[in-house]
Amino acid sequence: MTAPNAQELLAVIASRQLRDDTTVFAGVGVPLLAAALARQRHAPRLTMVIEGGIIGPEIAPGRLPISTNEMRAGRRATMLPAITEAFLFAQRGFVDVGFMGGAQIDQYGNVNTSVVGADYWKPKVRLPGTGGANDIASLCREVIIVTAHEKRRFVPRVDFVTSPAWLGGGGARAAAGLLFGGVSRVVTTLGILDFDPASRRMRIEATHPGVSVETIRENTGFALDTAPIVETTAPPSADELAMLRALDPERRFLG
C-alpha cells in the first residue's frame, strides 16, 4: 500500500470524526468521500444528507458526483426532498455534523468562499459563492472544516464572512442570533485544530505523524495556541486507504 497523498489523508482523518447512528451534511469531493468511507467502515447507520435534496444515498464506486444535485449524487437514496426542505432538516436540528471545505479561513473558523478584496461589489477575485456552506455553518449541530493547510488560506481575518463560525470570538456567534452549532474542528493536511472554549480562537489539537507543532505554526497566518494535550493522529491504515481508493478509482477527487 503506497503512502497516502494529501487528499487521502484528509478524507481518512475526516471520516474518523463521524460516529455511527448520526447524520452528516456533506458536500461533494473529499467531504462526500469521507462520509462514504465512514459509512462503509465504522458507521453503517450514518445517514448522508446532500444539499441538492438527497437523503441516504449510496455512492457508487467510480460514479462519484461532481455536484450536489445531479443524478449521480442521489443514487439509491431513501428520499429526494426539495432543496429548501433538505436544509430545513438541519434548521430543525436533525443534522449532527456539517462537513465543508474552505477557500480562506480565519482564526475564529469563519470561512470565505465569496470574494477576495475589501469591496464586495468590486472584488479583486470573485469566487463561486456560498452555495449551501453558509446554511451548513449556521444550522448543523457541529461543523467540521476539511482543508489543505496553507499559510495563504489561514488568515487572521477573512475578507468576507461567507460561512460564520465564531465570528469575532467569545460570545459573538450567539449574539448574532446563531444559537446552535459552530465549527468544532478543522481537519487539515498537517493536523487537527479545535477552538478554545472561552475565546473561540483556533488552536492545535493534534498533529499528523511526522508533523511538528512548529510546522503547523509556520504554515498558519496567525498565532496558534495548543490544546492542553496535543495528540498525534494515527496514520491512515491499509484498510482505510484500500476502501477509500476503491470509492474513487478514477482519482477524480483523490488526485
Partner: protein, 318 residues
C-alpha cells in the same frame, strides 16, 4: 434587493388580475419568449446543471432581451450565456460556476470583477425561502440562517426580534419573480405538471412568479394526470404556457431521462480557457442564434450522443 421583489400586496394583485384558466395552454417556444419583457426578473428552475429549462433560456436569448435579473439558486453555464449575451445585468444566486472539476468560472470573474454584471449572493436556503415566501404570499419568512455573516449586507436582509421569545431571527424577504422558466418531465395541455426525481425549488418558483412558462419532455392526456394526481406538483391554473420540448434541458440533465453532457462542458470551458468570453460569443452564434429550431439545436449534438446520455441516466436509476 429591490423593494418590488418583496411587495406582497402588489404581487397578490397581479395574481388576482390574472386569468386562472383550466383551459388550453399548449403553445410554441417563440410564443413563450414574447411573454418575457426587457427588465424582468426571471427565476430559472432546476439547479445548476439539473433540469435547467435550457430551451426557454435559449428562446429568451434569441429574442435578445435586455436588462434582465436572473434569479437561480445555483447558476451554471446558462448564466454565463446570459451575461455574455448582454441579457442579464444582475444575477441573484447562491453559487455560480459550471461545477467543481472546471474550477472557478472565468466568465463569472470577468463580468463581476469588471462591474459589468452585479451578483447578489444569498445562501442556498435563504434563496429557497425567498421563493417559499413568494409562494406563500407573505413578505418574509423567519429563519435561523445567514445571521452574522457578511451575506446579510449584500442583499440588505434585515433581522427581527421574535415576538414570543425575543430571539434574533433572519427575516428572509420574499422574491416574487416576473417570470418563471421551468422544465418538467410531463404535463397535460392544460398545464398540470409532474416532475420525477429532484423537486429542486420549481413548485415554489411557480407559485411565486407572475407569469409561468413551462416546457415538458412529454405531453400526456389529461386522463393520465387524473390517474396519478398525487404526482402533480404544479396545477394548471398556475401555468400560463406549456410547450412540448424533448431534451429541453440538454446539455444539462433531466432526472432518469438523460445525464448531463460533461464532455460538452469540458469543450465549452476549454474554449473559454483559450479565447476568453469570445468563446462564449462563438457558442451563442453556434448554439443559440444559429439553429432555427430546438430540433436543429439537438442535431448539433447528434442522435448518438443523446442516446448515450439516455443510457447513462437509465443506468444510474436502475
Amino acid at each position: 434587493m429591490k423593494a418590488s421583489e418583496y411587495d406582497f400586496v402588489a404581487a397578490r394583485r397581479r395574481i388576482e388580475a390574472k386569468a386562472k384558466s383550466a383551459g388550453e395552454k399548449l403553445t410554441s417556444l417563440e410564443d413563450t419568449a414574447a411573454r418575457v419583457k426587457d427588465g424582468d426578473t426571471i427565476a430559472v428552475g432546476g439547479c445548476l446543471f439539473s433540469r435547467t429549462p435550457m430551451a426557454l433560456v435559449r428562446e429568451v436569448l434569441r429574442a435578445r432581451r435586455r436588462g434582465l435579473t436572473l434569479a437561480r439558486n445555483l447558476t451554471c453555464h446558462e448564466g454565463e450565456l446570459m451575461m455574455v449575451a448582454g441579457a442579464a445585468e444582475r444575477i441573484v444566486t447562491a453559487w455560480m460556476s459550471i461545477g467543481l472539476p472546471w474550477g472557478v468560472s472565468k466568465i463569472l470573474r470577468e463580468y463581476v470583477e469588471g462591474g459589468k454584471v452585479a451578483l447578489e449572493e444569498w445562501s442556498h436556503l435563504a434563496l429557497g425561502l425567498r421563493f417559499k415566501a413568494g409562494a406563500m404570499g407573505v413578505p418574509f419568512l423567519p429563519a435561523l440562517t445567514m445571521l452574522g455573516s457578511d451575506l446579510v449586507g449584500v442583499g440588505g436582509m434585515k433581522t427581527i426580534e421574535d415576538p414570543y421569545t425575543g430571539a434574533t431571527l433572519a427575516a428572509v424577504p420574499a422574491l416574487f419573480p416576473d417570470v418563471a422558466l421551468l422544465h418538467v418531465h410531463r404535463a397535460d395541455r392544460f398545464g398540470n405538471c409532474q416532475i420525477d426525481g429532484y423537486p429542486h425549488m420549481d413548485a415554489d418558483i411557480a407559485r411565486a412568479a407572475t407569469t409561468v412558462l413551462v416546457t415538458a419532455e412529454e405531453i400526456i392526456p389529461e386522463e393520465e394526470i387524473r390517474r396519478h394526481p398525487d404526482r402533480t406538483v404544479i396545477p394548471g391554473f398556475v401555468v400560463d404556457a406549456i410547450v412540448h420540448v424533448p431534451f429541453g434541458s440538454f446539455p444539462h440533465e433531466c432526472y432518469a431521462l438523460y445525464e448531463a453532457d460533461y464532455e460538452h462542458f469540458g469543450e465549452y470551458t476549454s474554449a473559454i480557457d483559450a479565447k476568453g468570453s469570445g468563446a462564449v460569443r462563438e457558442y451563442l452564434d453556434r448554439y443559440v442564434h444559429g439553429p432555427a429550431s430546438w430540433m436543429d439545436y439537438l442535431d448539433l449534438f447528434g442522435g448518438e450522443r443523446l442516446a448515450r446520455q439516455q443510457r447513462a441516466a437509465r443506468d444510474l436509476v436502475s
